[in-house]
Amino acid sequence: MTTIEAPRTPAPVRRPRGGVNWEKWGWIYMRASGVVLVVLIFGHLFVNLVAGDGVKAIDFAFVAGKWADPFWVAWDTALLWLALIHGGNGMRTLINDYANNQLVRTVLLSAVAISTALLIVLGTLVIYTFDPCPAGTAADLLPSFCPVP
């Protein structure tokens, strides 16, 4: 009688927990940020796509005009951070769900983490180091409040 290898699977190993509980805080964060994002995103979309001439109205001058107002600076910063972290964390869940290969998983997770972090930094820098009236630009591209050279 030959022995057929036992077909049963070994018990999944439950990894011990340690450090920050990402799942729990991630879960809470998704919901908290979600509620705020609804306001931020719909506000953003409304102003950019619906109000006035819609998307047609958007150009450098439009952006510069918005960011001259600290209100919109704060709005867009919050939107940037909340949405990116929300999206990044969402992507993390997805990758954990579907990438079964440890290597693939690590690579993808790092990719999401890096791109999210990078873009947050980039975006923040853009908002705060923004110069509404860069020198040497045709005046018709600039917002009206720029001093005419």
Binding site: P7, R8, T9, A11, R17, E23, K24, W27, D97, Y98
Partner: protein, 253 residues
């Protein structure tokens, strides 16, 4: 003479006409097949017959090698959860006439647990998850010798729903999150944790909440409700999971 009465007994099914149903079953014989294959069977059924009766008919009259688990045949033992027309159901609780029999009935094993043969899957990972939530009363108090612990009907009702679980795995194996990597504890384990977390006689809710606050714990539930829909005992599974999540957040059952 003496038995005239009993002879004509099973009259109820006879009143309902018979019909032919086609079952398409996903078969897999680990000793022969590399991959599962689909096989068709035509069976003559009565109106009150269940899918389990159809499977029995096939096994007993057509192909004895068709393999599935079953025991009680009326939905209380949890042996025969399977995917019937794309949804997890107990074969013994699904009446053929309630399915659309103008089309073939697709039957396959539940998903997310290793397939062993035909409709049989490896239940060990499922029971391991169950065991890992401490599914037993852990009371700190010692009841008076020879006396029950007291519990009011209201306290008793708090966890009534989740005591109905028969560990059939229909819920866990319907959960899209469980399918992904099989690491998630799964709704059944959470249901059974819920049963004790909210039992007024139990003093160790926190231990279970800590276990379920794990990476593979309640937070992986994405409220897809497949579990609630699949549960043959009508347990409000997603509700139970939501209650456990809230208990973890508030730190108290």
């Amino acid at each position: 003479m003496s038995n005239a009465v009993m002879e004509s007994k099973p009259s109820i099914p006879e009143e309902i006409p018979t019909f032919t149903a086609t079952l398409i079953i996903r078969r897999f014989d680990p000793e022969v097949d590399d991959e599962p294959r689909w096989q068709d069977f035509d069976v003559q059924m009565h109106g009150t017959d269940r899918v389990l009766d159809a499977l029995h008919k096939i096994k007993w009259e057509q192909d004895g090698s068709l393999t599935f688990r079953r025991s009680c045949a009326h939905g209380v033992c949890g042996s025969d959860a399977m995917r019937i027309n794309g949804r997890n159901r107990l074969a013994c609780k699904t009446l053929i006439k309630d399915l659309d029999i103008s089309k073939p009935i697709y039957i396959e094993a539940i998903k997310g647990l290793p397939l062993e043969k035909d409709l049989v899957v490896d239940m060990e990972p499922f029971f391991d998850s169950f065991k890992s939530v401490n599914p037993f009363l852990m009371a700190g108090s010692v009841p008076k010798a020879g006396k029950e612990r007291k519990q009011s009907p209201v306290e008793r009702a708090r966890f009534d729903d989740t005591t109905k679980c028969i560990l059939c795995a229909a819920c866990t194996s319907s959960c899209p999150v469980f399918w992904t990597d099989g690491q998630y504890f799964g709704p059944a384990a959470i249901v059974n944790a819920h049963r004790f977390i909210f039992d007024s006689r139990d003093d160790n809710a926190q231990v279970r909440l800590d276990i379920l606050n794990d990476k593979e714990g309640v937070w992986r539930c994405r409220t897809t409700f497949n579990c609630t829909d699949a549960c043959p005992r009508g347990i409000q599974v997603t509700q139970a999971i939501a209650e456990v999540k809230q208990a973890i957040l508030r730190g108290k059952a």
